[in-house]
Every structure is written in C-alpha cells, then in structure tokens.
C-alpha cells in the first residue's frame, strides 16, 4: 500500500471522524429553492460540526446576475431561515460565508463554464485545493445532461483530484429516459463519480432498518418465508400536492413515491445481509432483490395493482378539495394520487410472501411504516376459543413520525381461565435517544465529499426500479385497472381493500 493510500494514523480512535477532502463544491441553481432550503443550511451545519476541512469552498452558479457579496447575503438569509440548528453561530457562519463565491452561468453557454473553470483554478491556488470538484445539480432534471456535457466541453471533468456530479431524483421518467440520462452522465463521469441523491436514504430512520436487521441476531433467523406471512409497506401522506400540481400531474404517485421511496423500503426490508456496510456490498444486495421482484405484466397488473385519486373530503378535521380542483391540475386528470401493489419476490428467502405496498396523498395521516406479519402458530395449543382474540405476531418498523419498533404477541389475560390476548411491546427511539438526528442532506453531502456512495442510488438500481414500474405505468395510462376514487381522508379506494381481501388479508391500520 502506498503511503498516501494508507489510513491516516492520527484519525484512529476518533469516532465519527468524517472529514471531507478539501474540495470546491459548485452548486448549479445556487439561487434556487433547493439550494436555499437544504444545501446551504446543510453545509453550514457541516461547518459547525467541523466536518468541512480548511480550504473547502463553495461556488454558486446560476443564471441570476448577482455578486459574491449578494450571494453571501442570500446564503446568510437562507441559513438563518432554514438551518436545523438554531441559534446561528455567527463565528461559524462568517467563516462559512467567506468560503462562498458566485459565478453567473447560463447552462447553454460554454463560455460561462470556461469562466467557471477559471474561478475554480483560482480557488485551487489560493485555498490549497488539489483540483477536487463536486458539481451539484440543484436544477430541474432536464438540465442535468446539458450541465454534464458543458462540464465536459469546458474540461471540468478532468485534471488532478476527483470530479463528482450529484443529481437529484427523479432519475428519468421511465426506463428509457433513465438510461439516456445514465449514458450521458457516464460519458462525462465514471459511474463511481455519479451521485444520484434520494434524500430519503439519508434519513436516520431509513438507515435504522439496516441497523435493526443486521446489528441484531434475533430477527434475521425469522426473517424469511418460513415464518413470515406477508409484508405491508405504507407511505401515507395527509397533505395534498400543495404547489406541485404541474409536476405531480405528470408524475403521479407511482413515479413520485413508489418508484423510489417505496421500492427502497422493499429493498431494505428484503435484501440479503451485505458483506459490509459499504457502497458496493449494500447496493449489490439491493439491486439483487429488486431484480428478484417479479415484474407485473399483462393480466397481473389488473389483479395486483390499484390506482386511485382523491376527491374532496375531510382530513384532520378540515375539508379538502379534490385532486382535479387543485391548482395546475387538469380538470379531467387521470393521474393517480394513490397506488397499491402486490409484489412477489422470487428468491429462496421470500418465495410465496406477498409484499403489499401502498402510497398516497390525502390519506388520514402521514405515516411511513413496514409491517412484517408472521404466520399463525402451527397448532392451537390453547384451543380456538382461547385464541380468538389473538392476532398473528407482527413486527412493525415505524419510519415516521414516531420512529420505533413494536412487536405484537399473545399474552394470557389475568383471570382464572385461560384466555390469550394480543399485546404490543412498543419501543420508541425517542425515549432512548432524546437527541435530534442530523438532516438527511448533511449526511449525504458529507458522504459525497468523502466519496462514500453507499446511500446513493446506483444506475443499475434505478434501472431495476424502472423495469418494474414501466409496464404498470403503461397499463395505467391505458386505463387498466380503472382509476378508483376515494374521498380525502380515506385509506385509498375500495379496490385497495379488495386487493388484500382477495388474499384473505387486510391492511393494517397504522
């Protein structure tokens, strides 16, 4: 091992020692919403945690014609408004702002990228940066390819140091567009330098699924078709589409939530234990399990999927309008705001165990959970009558809002006779860790700077997900199955209930 590749001996024993290499982060769309709400506050908090090294610099790049000082002022305002930690530490903020500068970049103009290159070279020289670059596309997805190609044309993807690009979900709108995006990005950057960010994976609660499964030995032996009857994954939101009508009417629940968040939860629940918590091992296992999900084709789509759209109703005691009355939504829109799927995973561990997935808007409450339902005992030792109040065992992993784990099991009712009743053993993370978790973007930005893509989506993962979604999407656009309506505040259309009833099961009420 060469000297420079060996671990830093001074870092030994420094727990949570995660410090980025000195680099310049270029934020395209730096004056936009994502940058102001998430990225700049996350970078400030990383600076506050001393995770940004000396010399680290941020260059804002956008169409707006603003000065360095104006950009710093904007950044300061956004950090004050949106930082997770308050009050703002003036000393840290001042030091962070001094690392910011701004370059006006029209994505269609190569000269602007050359000017950007010039600025980056100046920063390399003045801040001891060995050419390391992170290009963050906080811009609408259609611009990703343009930006990547312009970076290539300006030779910003080559030279000393590392060169990484970060793009936000959605990664394409179907399999073809996802492949096209991947091909373009890979022309400019090697795959291991492409960071596809889905902030969902940066959430502590989502990572906790892996900790629950693989840091404990008591769950894995029962985590298979021998003992598990079915798995239910719910990603429910009480809110409507808010200001995202134009986007949402094109996307729908299937592309907006199921293709990424819900399938990520399926993968994390069903994947085999990775050899290590590293990028290759974790993502290999996720891809394997996504590829093992049986594609829904032909008649299966009508039998195993449900789509619905909310109409006016009542949510949390307030009357809400129907989807077609929302702003920027076509009055006759057929876009689904609710999606439910029955998936099968064709591998040894999960053969015969259905995974029921549902996601929707204007449901009774916002909740994300994974419920693992176990089979009934093979023999009723205490007789049918004693057991009539007993549900099968279940483990529920609550992702939000009350993160925790509960285990349902039967216990004897105190009485002279022998009656068994279901009880819940409930663990709430908040009662053991009364501390605030870091924001997902802080974790993911630092991972990207360090060069750890474990929590980022790999190209084959994206394609595997679209491979499952595309046929469903096509069938739904052709009206199969028909769009079911549900009033705001209900758990989806009636067909969703029927989907499980057909299997002799019912949805768990979160």
């Amino acid at each position: 091992m060469k000297v420079e590749e060996a671990p830093n001996p001074l870092a030994e024993g420094l727990h949570d020692y995660r410090v980025a290499d000195t680099a310049v982060m270029v934020i395209f769309g730096a004056t936009g919403d994502l940058s102001g709400r998430k990225l700049l506050p996350a970078l400030y908090n990383l600076a506050k945690q001393r995770s940004l090294p000396a010399g680290f610099a941020v260059v804002g790049a956008a169409m707006s014609d603003v000065t360095d000082d104006a950009f710093r002022k904007l950044a300061s305002e956004k950090i004050h408004q949106f930082s997770r930690t308050k009050p703002i530490d003036d000393r840290v903020l001042e030091a962070f702002l001094s690392s910011l500068s701004y370059v006006k970049v029209d994505f269609s103009k190569l000269d602007d990228f050359r000017a950007l290159a010039q600025r980056l070279q100046e920063l390399d020289s003045s801040r001891h940066i060995p050419g390391n670059r992170i290009f963050y596309c906080a811009t609408p997805p259609p611009t990703y390819q343009t930006i990547a190609l312009q970076l290539q044309a300006a030779a910003l993807n080559t030279g000393g140091g590392f060169h990484r690009i970060v793009v936000e979900k959605p990664f394409g709108s179907d399999l073809n567009s996802a492949r096209e995006l991947t091909q373009t990005l890979q022309k400019v950057f090697p795959e291991n330098s492409v960071y596809r960010i889905d902030h969902y994976l940066g959430k502590e609660t989502v990572q906790n699924i892996l900790a629950f499964r693989f840091a404990n030995s008591i769950f894995e032996p029962v985590w298979n078709a021998n003992l598990i009857d079915s798995v239910q994954i719910t990603v429910a939101e009480e809110i409507g589409i808010e200001q995202r009508g134009a986007y949402y009417d094109q996307a729908g629940a299937l592309r907006d939530i199921v293709q990424n968040h819900a399938l990520q939860l399926v993968a994390l629940t069903a994947m085999e234990p990775p050899l290590a918590f590293d990028a290759t091992a974790v993502r290999d296992e996720k891809v394997k399990v996504l590829r093992a999900v049986r594609p829904l084709l032909g008649d299966d789509i009508a039998k195993s999927t449900v789509r619905g759209q909310y109409t006016k109703g009542w949510v949390l005691g307030e009357q809400v309008i129907g989807y077609c009355d929302e702003k920027n939504v076509a009055p006759d829109s057929q876009t689904e705001t609710f999606a439910a799927l029955r998936l099968s995973i064709d591998n040894w561990r999960w053969a015969g165990v259905p995974f029921y997935v549902r996601a929707g808007k204007r449901l009774p409450k916002s909740v994300t959970e994974i419920r693992v339902q176990f089979k009934r005992p093979p023999h009723l030792t205490f007789g049918r009558e004693a057991m009539q109040e007993v549900d099968p065992n279940a483990i529920t992993l609550r992702i939000q809002p009350e993160e925790g784990i509960s285990l349902k099991f039967g216990a004897k009712v105190p009485s002279a006779g022998l009656r068994i009743r279901s009880v819940n053993m409930d663990f709430q993370y908040l009662t053991s860790f009364l501390v605030e978790a870091p924001e997902a973007y802080e974790r993911l930005l630092l991972d990207c700077m360090i060069g750890d893509p474990t929590l980022f989506t790999r190209a084959d993962e994206v394609e595997a997900a679209w491979h499952l979604i595309d046929p469903i999407e096509e069938s739904w656009r052709n009206g199969v199955p028909p769009l079911g309506m549900y009033p705001g505040g209900a758990w989806g259309p009636e067909a969703a209930t029927m989907l499980l009833q057909a299997d002799g099961r019912e949805w768990h009420r979160p």
């Binding site: 000297v3 420079e4 590749e5 060996a6 830093n8 001996p9 001074l10 870092a11 030994e12 024993g13 420094l14 727990h15 949570d16 020692y17 410090v19 290499d21 000195t22 600076a47 506050k48 945690q49 001393r50 090294p53 000396a54 010399g55 530490d89 000393r91 840290v92 001042e94 030091a95 020289s125 003045s126 801040r127 001891h128 060995p130 809002p401 009350e402 925790g404 009880v423 819940n424 053993m425 409930d426 663990f427 709430q428 993370y429 908040l430 009662t431 053991s432 860790f433 009364l434 501390v435 605030e436």
Partner: protein
C-alpha cells in the same frame, strides 16, 4: 463528536423521598414504589404500563458538596437526553454512625411524540467503613444489561483496595485528569491501572475527550491523500499550555504521546526548564522530531488547557507548517510577554496580522531552542537531562471553567503559498456532553491507553 447537550433544566427536580440513617433495603423499596407509581400514573386506567428504557447506570463519587451538586446537575442533564439510572455518592469523611442518608429526586421528560420518561437520581451520603465499600453498596441499584459507569469526580485512589473493589461492579472508570490533585502521581497510578485493569473495564478520561477537538484538527490536516506523506516529514511539534508546573503539562503530554504512539516516534531525551518549558527529542526513523512545550499566560484558560499546537516539517521537498490556536480573538500576547511582538510588528490592527506575527514569533522562539542541552543548562543550571521538580505540584484552585466553548484558528502554510486560515467553533464540552459522548463511543479506547503510556514516559523524563 456527538452534538453538544443543549438541554435547559427548567425546574428543580422533585424530591420524592428522603431518609436519614436508613438501610439500603429502604432505599430500594422507596425507589421501586416511585417507579411503580409513575408507571401507573402514566398508563392510565386502561393501558398497559409503558416500558422503561434505560441506557446506563452512572455512579458519581463525590467528596465535597460542590462536587455532589455538580454530579446531580450533570445527571439531570444526561437524564434529559437519555434515560439513565443515576446514583450520586458522597463520602462524608469523619462522620460516624450507622446507615445512610439518602435522597431520591425525579425528573420527568415528556417528548412530544413518545411516552414520558422518568429519571431518578439517588443521592447517598455514606460514612464510616461503608465508604470504603462502594461496590457492594450500590450493586443492588444497578440496572441489569446496560453499562455501569463509575465517575470518580476527584482523584481516584489509585492503588487502593477500595478503588479495585468498586471497579468490580462497573464497566468503566471515568475520571478527569485535569482535576487530579497531584497530577503527576495520579498519572503514574493511572498508567499502572491500565496494565492491570481487567479486560471488561474501560478507562475514560474527560481531559482526553476534551483533547479530541485538537486531535481532530491535527488529523484533518493530514487526511487528504496528497498530504499523507507529510506525516513522515514532521520535524517539529510545539505546544503552548496554560499554567506552569509539571501537573499542567498532562494535556500537552497527551498530545505528544498520541502523536508519538501513532507515528512510531521513540523518545530519546527530554528536559524541563523554568517557566514551564519542556524540550524533547524523538527519533522517527532516520529523522529527529523536536518537541517543545511552553507555558503561556492566558487568563481565560484553566491551568493545563492547551492554547496552541504547531506542527512543521518537510516532505518531498515541500515545507509545511500547521498552527492550531485556541480562542484567537483573545489578546494573543499578554503584557508579560511583549518581546516577540516588538520583534515582529504586525503592520496593522488586523487580528490576522497579529496572529501571524505572533505565530512567526513563536517559531522564532523555537529556533532559539534548537540546542536542547544548552537551553536546559541555561534555563536550569543543572547538567543536561537531570532536572526534576523536587516536589509534586499540588493544585488547590478550580482547574476547570464552566464556559467551555472554544474557537480554533488553523493556519496552514504549504510551500511558498500564502497562509490559509480556517476558523472552527468547538461546541461546549461540559461534563454531561463528554459523558454522553462516552456512552455513544464506548470507553475501551486503545488509542488513549497507548497515548497515556507514551505521555507518562515523557512526563517521567521531565
């Protein structure tokens, strides 16, 4: 490092029970009753009782009323973050009689989205022979299945049977070497304890935890791959610390010991002079590494706290200098040391200019110290390498401040490039924060153990 504890304790804890001259069985009975009452009250008429969570048992041993209060307050802060069983013990030296005086107070946390958590703090005043048998006394109060930390707030009685008996019931001994009354002797006792401690026992020093920010700042500089070769080119290490007397050099010795252990430096010789100056030579392969400590007067620093660390060297034909200074906004040159300021005028009122001039002055000063033997002889009048303080230095004043926020200014010079400044804020490092951090990271720290042994090796020489 875990986020700093920012909990504000709003009210006084509620005194739930008190007994004078009681037996431990009565304390246990009272504690169980308090817990059962809370569980019933929270569950209501139709619910099952909520499960109790507990992440550790913290046993704090205090010798004075001030320490007892500090322990109680720290336990409350920890309880507000993580449910813990806290026991505060105060040895009442000279008191006689049977039984214990005991108090149980409770704090209830009500997270917005989780069930309420009650934390009890049991305070025991013990006297007579019982004070020598803390282990068996608190054993019945320990929570099964979670770590037990024994936090000795003063100087643990190293080498005495009472400490070894107490260590049998705990998973870790927590102490603060910056509070040791006779630091040199305590360090010696500690280094012996490391060699005989049972495998399960962790040793955690809060002063070592406080040095983490320094270690991180130093490690950060060498983290980029292109700077990794600099590690093998270090030729100088300079450390400024507050206070004088060898007891105040523990922090500086820890940093030196840490680097020596990590980088394979071997101590060749060392000597100390008046004014807190220490010079040491280490062998690193074919190179020599010079280490210099010096005492600085900084009113805002407690004795023993570090003020600055400087590393310099050459690798691959490139020179590098790293300087990490604490709280640079404070007047860097106290009135008592104006000489180097005049030799290196700053050229303006700018704080950066003052810092740079100060830094140049510090380097200049170290050039004067190149000849260790002549320095030693000049400073002490003793033959080279033979100077030792004749008496241990005993500190009677408070060695830790309550305001623990720090600002680090890192200045990096590589080759001929202009210096790069980097300001970092180190969050409050109060005892509760440090203890919680230990809970998250564990107390079995082989780096600490190695660094301690190498630090003591240096301390012994000077």
């Amino acid at each position: 490092m875990a986020p700093a504890v920012t909990t504000t304790l709003k009210d006084e804890p509620e005194l739930m029970w008190h007994g004078d001259g009681v037996k431990m069985a009565e304390v246990l009975e009272a504690l169980n009753r308090i817990r059962a009452d809370f569980a019933r009250a929270e569950a209501g008429d139709h619910e099952h009782a909520h499960p109790r969570n507990c992440v550790m048992t913290l046993v704090a041993v205090s010798a004075t009323q001030a320490e007892e209060r500090r322990a109680q307050r720290t336990c409350r802060i920890i309880g507000a973050q993580h449910p813990a069983q806290s026991i505060v013990i105060r040895e009442e030296v000279g008191a006689h009689g049977h039984g214990l005086n005991a108090w149980i107070v409770t704090d209830i946390q009500r997270p917005s989205m989780a069930s309420a958590v009650e934390c009890e703090i049991v305070t025991l005043h013990i006297h007579g022979a019982a004070a020598d048998h803390i282990g068996p006394l608190v054993d019945p109060l320990l929570v099964s299945g979670v770590p037990t930390y024994l936090w000795w707030m003063g100087t643990p009685p190293f080498g005495k049977g009472e400490l070894h008996e107490a260590l049998r019931i705990c998973d870790a001994l927590v102490f603060d070497s910056s509070r040791f009354e006779e630091p040199y002797h305590a360090l010696r006792g500690l280094s012996k304890l490391i060699t005989i401690a049972h495998e399960r026992l962790g040793l955690a020093d809060l002063q070592w935890s406080r040095l983490r920010a320094w270690r991180e700042s130093l490690a950060q500089f060498f983290t980029p791959f292109d700077r990794r070769p600099f590690l093998a080119g270090i030729s100088e290490l300079g450390i400024d610390y507050a206070g004088d007397g060898r007891g105040n050099r523990i922090g500086a010795a820890f940093i030196t010991g840490w680097m020596a252990a990590a980088l394979g430096w071997k101590l060749q010789r060392a000597a100390a002079g008046p004014g807190g100056i220490v010079a040491a030579y280490y062998r690193a392969g074919q190179r020599t590494v010079e280490v210099h400590f010096r005492s600085v007067r900084k009113e805002h620093l407690a004795p023993g706290e570090l003020s600055a660390v400087r590393v310099a060297g050459t690798a691959g034909g490139m020179t590098f200098r790293l300087s990490v200074q604490r709280d640079p906004e404070r007047p860097p040159i106290p009135p008592a040391e104006p000489a180097y300021q005049t030799m290196h005028p700053t050229g303006g009122e700018d704080e950066a200019g003052i810092e740079l001039a100060s830094r140049r002055a510090e380097w200049h000063r170290e050039v004067l110290h190149e000849n260790l033997d002549s320095l030693h002889h000049t400073a002490t009048g003793d033959p080279p390498g033979e100077s030792r303080p004749r008496h241990p230095v005993v500190f009677t004043r408070e060695r830790r401040r309550t305001d623990t926020a720090q600002v680090f200014l890192t200045i990096i010079e590589i080759g001929e490039s202009a210096p790069l400044r980097h300001v970092q804020q180190v969050e409050h490092q109060d005892e509760a924060t440090l203890l919680l951090d230990l809970l998250a990271t564990g107390t079995h720290d082989s780096v600490f153990n190695r660094s301690l042994l190498r630090a003591f090796e240096l301390m012994r020489k000077v």
